[in-house]
Amino acid sequence: MNYSTTQDVQDIQWYPACMITDVPENGGVCVKYKEEQIALFHFARRGEWYASQNLCPHRRQMAISRGMIGSQCGEPKVACPLHKKTFSLIDGRCLSDEEDCGIKTYPVKVVDEYVYIGIAGEENGSEAICA
């Protein structure tokens, strides 16, 4: 299984976040990467993985990873558990009424038993973290 989102893969460093079995099927976990908190989701039914920031921009709470995931017209999404604002996991835009607050998304790939989160070049201070 090898899945990644459509971002330019050139300058991405792959951070090995956890094992496949660490993440509940059709659910999410929170991954710590330096000072960042990244929400990682496993859409087991579709065999897809997504990642986004863990911070819900609505009330600035670290909660997205505990949200329920699902789809809207086929597009994968996550709902913040606090006030049920939903966000696309493709481009991070808010699918609820407040369109101006989006979240950052990250590419994900799975190699063997490991799940990697792609950190874009500019954010990645260290060359050591890569797949």
Partner: protein
């Protein structure tokens, strides 16, 4: 065609939006100059900057918006000269750009009265983000602040200073606050409210000078009095920014403002002026809604539609320091020109005044202070000249929707031209068309297409009503399907799950649904599965709402609260000590809940299993405070101690609570048992309540507190304990199987055809012949009860998920912050 917009405020930005929408052939090249370094931001909500919003939060669009719409945006670069003859604009940074049309959206500047001392250190105006930053940093050293100006803007500034914890004074030269919008009594009510908040109001005061050596020390008045203060904020009105127009020879008004015609053209037909810098028929429109209307008119002029400006209704509704204030139409009509109806409630600080035409048929205007819930419908009644009902006072005795029904048929009676969203200028007709012609049936969709309700949001209830009215008109009966993934009602899905023996969400989705599910259908199916089989809900943790997933209640900041079961509210001193000990050990905030239990707040997710472990050790179990489940059975002390008690209400309450504990339902279930008719346990406000009588027990059902309180109805009287439990079994099971998601028993019975009589027939007379089946199903659930906390504590696999970071087990979320309050901790307020 080249368009230059001068000014990147709310109106200048709106113009860009409107022109883009209308520019179907993409023939316009737009360039925007902004004097401030920030992209267009929401000036109306400026005071939120003090309550922690950042410039980015206030911004109207994200930083890519202009670029992705191919608009050149030059910030921090003011246009300094317009060369009308060569149709060129020259900026302070030396940019020299030609235009075909130029739009002035330069807005206004605060009006600073001509008194000595206004240039002293510590005198501020209140207009831009930079002003706010200056005020904030100066306020650190200040204790006391005065605002000059008790109008709309002045009171906004007052709120801002109050938020900075300063002793705040507001000075107004008129004899009342908000003299343009409020009459004497209305202003008096507002003043009282502000004074209750600790704001000092000074009326009839004209400032004569600001005194102090270098910095402000006091504000002096014409009557020779003075008010000592560390800082002064001037918010006494606006003056249009017309200096560019003046310099290039455009006509301006005697007191400022670029003169415009119906098309909003200035004296040069290639230059338009919109928003607060424009002067139309002798008037400057200092609100955002008319500015938006002007923006739309210029955009339509440029794209070949001949739309004209005809003035604008200056009705306003706003929340000032938490107080509703609204004024519409001719709010200040003289007594001899109209009949007035006045309502005053000094207890709650509510003042309402309606001005009615002398023949009593039409509404001319009005004022609302303290409660403006009827504003929308009153405004519509006034704007559309609807005939008033015979008892016009009913219009404000009832609020919101209720008032709408009285006012000549409400929503349905409004003409299509009625303006519903005044921020975005959307009419009732436009909303109806979206529903009828484009087939958009939900609020979100209508908001997206029409933009209605995206400004202040005050019109959203009306938009909802219009959508449902229009659907009714179309003869559409929307099937209340659960969501896009399941085309069934909850009751249908419940039956399918039972009949097909479905045990997991995935099976249900495969067989009866589509897609990946969502935050709506997952908890519904989770609740159905729990009600049908009563298996451990954490076997399918990811379909549970967050509270069910972590078996605790998520609170502000992302920590959780823990409520152990205390059946009937009876607890031994030893167990109280255990709760105290655990709360102390994990530094938890404790509070008695409304349901005779004790809640412990502020636990990190990784601490939950540890806390439960200690509680279970001491004989506690989960209280299911997190679930749509039986919460508590409250009791009075009953015949064991009370001299009036007829039966032992505590023992019966414990028996009931232990029978139904953990029972999952469409919504939470509350219950109570009272030992006599004095009803100290308030059983008639519960989903099911039991009250002792001389001969046995009376059983009530369908009560609830909450936002729409409702009393329970009598289901059966003078029954013994065994019969009572049988009826409750049937009642709860029937409710669980047939109610829609998130429907309390009260609403369920209200919607039931035949109501309580029908329900009584089913439960007591077993008219459907399902009594025995319901009892058996309930017994099955009771037999399968297990404490969910215990299951987690004993399972390493389940415990693993009680960590904030999957790759740093045990490490707590570093973003969680607490503050101290009355000797305990509390979550810090969110932004």
């Amino acid at each position: 065609m080249k368009i230059i917009v001068i000014g990147n405020g709310m109106v200048g930005h709106k113009f860009c939006e409107k022109l883009l929408t209308r520019d179907k052939k993409a023939e316009f090249q737009i360039t925007v100059f902004g004097e401030e370094p920030y992209r267009a931001y929401n000036r109306v909500h400026l005071s939120e900057y003090f309550s922690g919003k950042t410039a980015e939060d206030l911004s109207l669009v994200d930083r890519h918006w202009y670029a992705s719409n191919k608009i050149e945006l030059y910030l921090d670069d003011a246009v300094v000269e317009i060369d009308k003859y060569n149709k060129t604009a020259i900026s302070s940074m030396g940019r020299k750009l030609p235009y075909d049309f130029l739009v002035l959206a330069t807005g206004s500047a605060p009006f600073v009265p001509d008194i000595p001392g206004t240039s002293k250190y510590g005198v501020f105006v209140y207009r831009t983000i930079d002003d706010l930053e200056l005020i904030t940093s100066y306020a650190d050293k200040a204790k006391k602040a005065v605002v000059i100006g008790g109008g709309l803007l002045g009171l906004e500034a007052t709120k801002a200073l109050k938020d900075l914890n300063l002793e705040t004074h507001v000075v107004e030269f008129a004899p009342r606050l908000m003299p343009r919008q409020l009459d004497e009594s209305g202003a008096e009510f507002l003043k009282t409210k502000l004074e209750h908040m600790g704001i000092h109001v000074h009326l009839n005061k004209t400032a004569s000078s600001v005194s102090g050596k270098e910095k402000v020390e006091a504000l002096e008045f014409k009557d020779n009095s003075k008010l000592e203060s560390d800082m002064v904020v001037i918010s006494a009105g606006i003056k249009p920014r017309d200096e560019l127009a003046r310099d290039c020879g455009l006509r301006v008004g005697p007191r400022g403002g670029v003169i415009v015609n119906h098309k909003l053209q200035t004296s040069d037909p290639y230059i338009y002026a919109i928003g607060e810098c424009a002067l139309f028929e002798g008037m400057v429109y200092g609100l955002v809604a008319p500015g938006y209307e002007m923006a739309d008119i210029v955009a339509s002029q440029l794209t070949g539609t001949d739309k004209a400006f005809r003035g604008f209704d200056m009705s306003t509704k706003l929340k000032l320091l938490g107080v509703d204030v609204a004024s519409f139409g001719d709010a200040l009509a003289m007594e001899n020109e109209c009949r007035t109806i006045v309502f005053e409630d000094r207890v709650w600080g509510i003042y309402k005044r309606l001005n009615v035409s002398p023949d009593g048929k039409h509404l001319l205007g009005g004022i609302l202070v303290g409660d403006a819930s009827a504003y929308n419908i009153l405004l519509q009644t006034y704007q559309n000249g609807l005939a008033l009902p015979q008892n016009a006072e009913d219009l404000f005795m009832k609020s919101g929707a209720a008032a709408g029904k009285i006012a000549g048929g409400g929503i349905a009676a409004l003409p299509n031209a009625a303006l519903i969203c005044s921020c975005e200028g959307v009419s009732k007709g436009a909303i109806c068309c979206t529903v009828k012609d484009q087939g958009i049936y939900d609020l979100d969709g209508v908001k997206k297409i029409t933009k209605a309700g995206t400004g202040c949001g005050g019109c959203i209830p009306m938009i909802k009503d219009i959508i449902s009215e229009t659907l009714k008109e179309l003869g559409k009966k929307i099937k209340p399907a659960i969501c896009e993934h399941f085309d069934y009602r909850r009751q249908e899905l419940f039956d399918l799950v039972k009949v097909h023996g479905i045990k997991t969400f995935d099976e249900a989705l495969d067989k009866f649904g589509n897609g990946a599910g969502c935050e709506v259908c997952k908890p519904v199916v989770a609740s159905i599965l729990a009600s049908a089989w009563n298996e451990l809900i954490l076997k399918q943790a990811t379909i549970q709402d967050t509270n069910d997933r972590y078996l605790a209640n998520i609170q502000k900041g992302g920590t959780y609260s823990v409520v152990p079961r205390i059946p009937g509210g009876e607890i031994t001193p030893d167990k109280l000590i255990v709760i105290g000990r655990v709360a102390k050990k994990y530094n938890l905030y404790t509070k008695i809940t409304g349901a005779q239990r004790i809640d412990m707040f502020g636990a990190h997710v990784s601490e939950l299993p540890l806390i439960w472990e200690e509680l279970i050790e001491a004989g506690f179990e989960s209280g299911h405070a997190y679930g749509k489940a039986l919460r508590t059975v409250k009791s009075c002390v009953g015949s064991t101690w009370c001299r009036f008690g007829l039966h032992d209400s505590v023992s019966f309450a414990i028996r009931i609570e232990e029978r139904y504990r953990g029972l999952r339902a469409p919504h939470k279930i509350k219950s109570a048992v009272s030992g006599c008719v004095r009803e100290c346990a308030e059983a008639q406000s519960k989903d099911f309540g039991i009250i002792a009588t001389e001969k046995g027990w009376n059983l009530f059902v369908g009560g609830n507190g909450g936002s729409k309180p409702q009393h329970a109805l009598l289901l059966a009287s003078d029954i013994d304990e065994k019969t009572c439990i049988r009826y409750v079994d049937r009642f709860l099971m029937f409710y669980i199987k047939t109610a829609d998601p998130l429907t309390r028993t009260a609403t369920w019975i209200n919607k039931m055809e035949g109501g309580i009589d029908y329900l009584q027939n089913v439960i007591v007379n077993d008219s459907l012949g399902i009594g025995a089946q319901l009892e058996a199903e309930m017994q099955n659930l009771v037999d399968h009860y297990k404490c969910e906390w215990k299951e987690v504590v004993e399972s390493p696999a389940l415990r693993k998920h009680f960590n904030h970071f999957i790759n740093q087990p045990g490490e707590k979320d570093p973003n969680v912050r607490f503050e101290e309050l009355r000797g305990q901790k509390k979550a810090v307020d969110w932004k």
